[in-house]
């Protein structure tokens, strides 16, 4: 039997397909009204069904004119190479050494240009992070994960 969460999920997936692009823009309040549920239910669905691990990216804007933007990430990377890296560095912490290796690999495989690689490498360097972060390796993991996710985004491919 289908839960409300399931229904909301398939509604959104449908909307994405209908939209011809790989994304939709929709109001949280509209969804919660349509499915007669509390607004936070929508966040639950987004968190459990439209996570990066499942290949989705959710962006939003609060306040007047706010919205949710749900995007299906492109799926044509070589054998889920990027996804695998996300999995690997997503949860645990990443040392500077590992990060450097990973970034160089991304440049080699031409997911990133040399400039992009250098830019990010400098950002996750301990000289930078030491300034304010005790748990450097965890922040580094989050930052790298963000890079990997960006690489999967359609918007990024076309810019």
């Amino acid at each position: 039997m289908a839960t409300i969460a399931d229904e909301i999920e398939s509604y959104i997936i449908n909307a994405i397909e209908f939209n011809d692009n790989n994304w939709v823009e929709i109001k949280r309040s509209h969804l919660s009204y349509r499915f007669a549920c509390v607004p936070s239910q929508i966040n639950y669905v987004l968190k459990t069904r439209f996570s990066p691990e499942r290949g989705f990216l959710v962006q939003s804007r609060r306040g007047g004119g706010g919205y949710l933007r749900i995007e299906k990430l492109t799926n044509d990377d070589e054998g889920g190479f990027l996804r695998q890296l996300i999995e690997e560095c997503g949860n645990r912490s990443v040392s500077l050494r590992v990060a450097t290796g990973l970034l160089e690999r991304l440049v080699e495989e031409e997911f990133l240009t040399g400039r992009e690689g250098l830019l990010v490498k400098n950002m996750v360097h301990h000289n930078v992070l030491a300034g304010a972060v005790a748990v450097q390796d965890e922040v580094r993991a989050l930052l790298l994960k963000s890079v990997l996710l960006t690489l999967l985004r359609e918007e990024f491919q076309n810019c």
Copy 2:
């Protein structure tokens, strides 16, 4: 473009481009009449969309014959420009809003490519930093400073 603020923003940007110069002169009362909003709404838009971080200069004159003059600044001395930004964001903390404006500016001025801008913008987003950092704004400042410093490096220019 959902909100009135957004519409006013693009109207002004359009007016600047149409004007062939890098600026427009316009009456606040005219704008508020045209968009059927209170005059102070215009000030809100100027404050949030035409800030210095985004490379705009707003001047005005009160009283009879008063006006707003909105100018898009461009930068000739590259090193100086970057150094100034470092100065500005280097020491204090940087909100997401300011960071976004600054990065978009760097892309406009062609210090960063669109891809690079997006990459960094995603990295300093609160969705990322919230994961492990209490004082987000300070880490964001450090990360941006790193980007700016990278831009000044010769190695980066030639890669």
